[in-house]
């Protein structure tokens, strides 16, 4: 069962027929498992990884460290929710260490990010401080590398 999701995680376009062959289970069973997982939220969404800079679209990304005051009863969750609901926030994590929330955000330009921090994030009552790191270069994301040449093309065409 787990294997079906491992395959989909690597390739969202794998068809139930293909998966059924790969895991040696009936197509019907695979289809049922996927349907069920889509329904119960095991499969959250199917997305595509795009290398945007290739299309000349250069978003600005920032990693923001946020120190916040936890609240009685809800800890960090309530303030985290206040923050991650903003569509500008791409990812949000509660982390251990010298700050509490790690926010990854995407903007059209630096201006957009700085106004988000200045006008939306920093003024929140529970937010004690923020440190904004602009991303300079992306090497690897979601397990995919952007700059390495394809490693598979180095074999001789025939070896016995």
């Amino acid at each position: 069962m787990k294997e079906i999701f491992e395959i989909l995680e690597q390739n969202a376009r794998a068809t139930p027929e293909q998966i059924s062959t790969m895991v040696d289970k009936p197509v019907k069973e695979v289809e049922k498992t996927i349907k069920q997982a889509e329904k119960d939220g095991t499969i959250v969404k199917y997305k595509t990884i795009i290398n945007w800079p290739k299309l000349g679209k250069e978003d600005v990304w920032a990693l923001i460290e946020v120190r916040v005051a936890p609240q009685r009863g809800v800890g960090f969750d309530a303030i985290a929710e206040r923050i991650y609901q903003f569509p500008e926030v791409y990812s949000a994590y509660l982390v251990s260490g010298t700050y509490d929330l790690a926010i990854l955000m995407r903007g059209k330009n630096m201006q957009e990010i700085s106004s988000f921090v200045n006008e939306k994030l920093a003024p929140l009552e529970q937010v004690q401080s923020t440190v904004t790191h602009f991303l300079l270069k992306r090497y690897k994301e979601n397990g995919e590398t952007f700059h390495l040449p394809k490693e598979t093309n180095r074999r001789l065409p025939v070896t016995l």
Partner: protein
């Protein structure tokens, strides 16, 4: 492999040893040349993993260079690596080798095979091999002055040599049986029962067994039978293996031989005059591979298994009946239904649909009627290749079932 027709080379160069001059080049040279002239080929004719060596292993190799491990090691290989190997073979297969006297680190398993042949063969000695088999088997036997004796195998006997067929070919000159399971090119594995039968035969006729187990880790849904682990077989088996297939380390050239002391001593004699020692960097990387490589092996095996199922299923669907390969990364479908011979099939497929497969005849006369398709290739490439093969077969209007 040996194409007897091309043996009679014209105008033999007297400066080249006769043995080498008459040793035919790999039987499908023509096919290779053709292949290099076709662009955009999807190649199913490769005999190595498409994975790059796992990073932790590569990193260990880099570190060894940083630290300046650039000198020879002892002829037998680094003691640490031999200890790791002894431990590995003991834990995994329950066969114990003394790390100091019973293991030799070689420059790939190919060197081990060559050493073994040279160390055991007297002129005219016969070595029994399966047909089809890996191309180096007969060549190494001939170069060592021996005579390869081919034992036919086919789908009916799961491409494993049958003892009755071996027995029929045993003579006073028979010295050894050279087997390699999981097998290249068929993907066949050897069951416990089949292995036991060969073991019994080896005892009965006092034969050596050279067991090439380079694909040992690439088995699907079955346990690999390590030949020397069979009762009474350690003393008459030379085990040859390496890291190329299990750890995707083909280019590092690192392998090993495990056998009783008298054999290892003999092999080491040749090794010390020819190779001296296996590459030091590769030995350091191999230590890391043995210590921390299991997770990556499992990942690769799982991935191969998915591709294997896809390829075998699709081959059967398009009318090329395919025996279920349970090891290595090859499928060996029959192309008899197309009415073509292996070379013709491979050449036409290459020219018309730009898919490269290896004619079975490259691996021996019994490979006729088959082609070798390697599934160590990305899933999309396998799918596309099979689409093209399907089109090829239908276009040719062939009498497939």
């Amino acid at each position: 492999m040996l194409n007897t027709k091309s043996t009679a080379t014209k105008a033999r160069d007297s400066l080249i040893s006769q043995k080498v001059a008459t040793l035919p080049p790999s039987g499908i040279r023509k096919f290779f040349d053709l292949l290099s002239s076709v662009e955009d080929v999807i190649s199913l004719s490769i005999g190595e993993p498409d994975f790059v060596t796992p990073w932790h292993v590569r990193e260990a190799g880099i570190y060894s260079l940083e630290k300046g491990y650039t000198m020879y090691t002892s002829n037998s290989g680094m003691p640490e690596l031999r200890r790791e190997l002894a431990h590995y073979l003991e834990v995994r297969y329950g066969v114990s080798y003394h790390p100091e006297h019973e293991i030799l680190i070689t420059t790939g398993s190919s060197e081990g095979l060559d050493l073994a042949m040279r160390a055991i063969i007297n002129p005219g000695d016969e070595v029994i091999i399966p047909d089809p088999c890996y191309v180096a088997y007969p060549a190494d036997i001939i170069l060592a002055g021996g005579v390869p004796i081919l034992v036919p195998t086919n789908e009916e006997n799961n491409f494993v040599i049958r003892t009755t067929d071996i027995e029929a070919r045993i003579t006073k000159q028979t010295k050894a049986i050279l087997i390699g399971y999981p097998a290249n090119p068929t993907g066949a594995i050897m069951s416990k029962k089949e292995a036991d039968a060969i073991a019994a035969l080896a005892k009965k006729y006092d034969l050596l067994v050279i067991s090439d187990e380079i694909y040992a880790r690439l088995v699907y849904g079955v346990e690999h039978i390590c030949f020397p682990s069979l009762p009474g077989m350690k003393e008459r088996t030379i085990l040859i293996s390496g890291f190329s297939k299990s750890h995707a380390m083909t280019g590092w050239r690192i392998g090993y031989v495990a056998a009783e002391r008298r054999f290892i001593q003999a092999l080491t004699k040749i090794h010390q005059y020819t190779m001296l020692s296996a590459p030091t960097m590769a030995q350091m990387a191999a230590i890391e591979a043995l210590r921390n490589g299991e997770v990556e092996i499992e990942r690769m095996v799982q991935e191969y298994n998915r591709r294997r199922r896809l390829m075998v299923k699709r081959l059967n669907e398009i009318g090329l009946s395919c025996f279920e390969p349970k090891g290595a990364f090859y499928a060996f479908p029959s192309i008899k239904a197309t009415g073509m011979n292996s070379e013709e099939f491979a050449e036409k497929l290459l020219v018309e649909e730009e898919v490269a497969v290896v004619p079975g005849t490259a691996f021996g006369p019994c490979g006729e009627g088959f082609v070798r398709c390697c599934y160590a290739t990305s899933l999309p490439d396998i799918e596309e290749a099979l689409r093209r093969m399907d089109r090829f077969i239908r276009k040719s209007g062939l009498n497939t079932v």
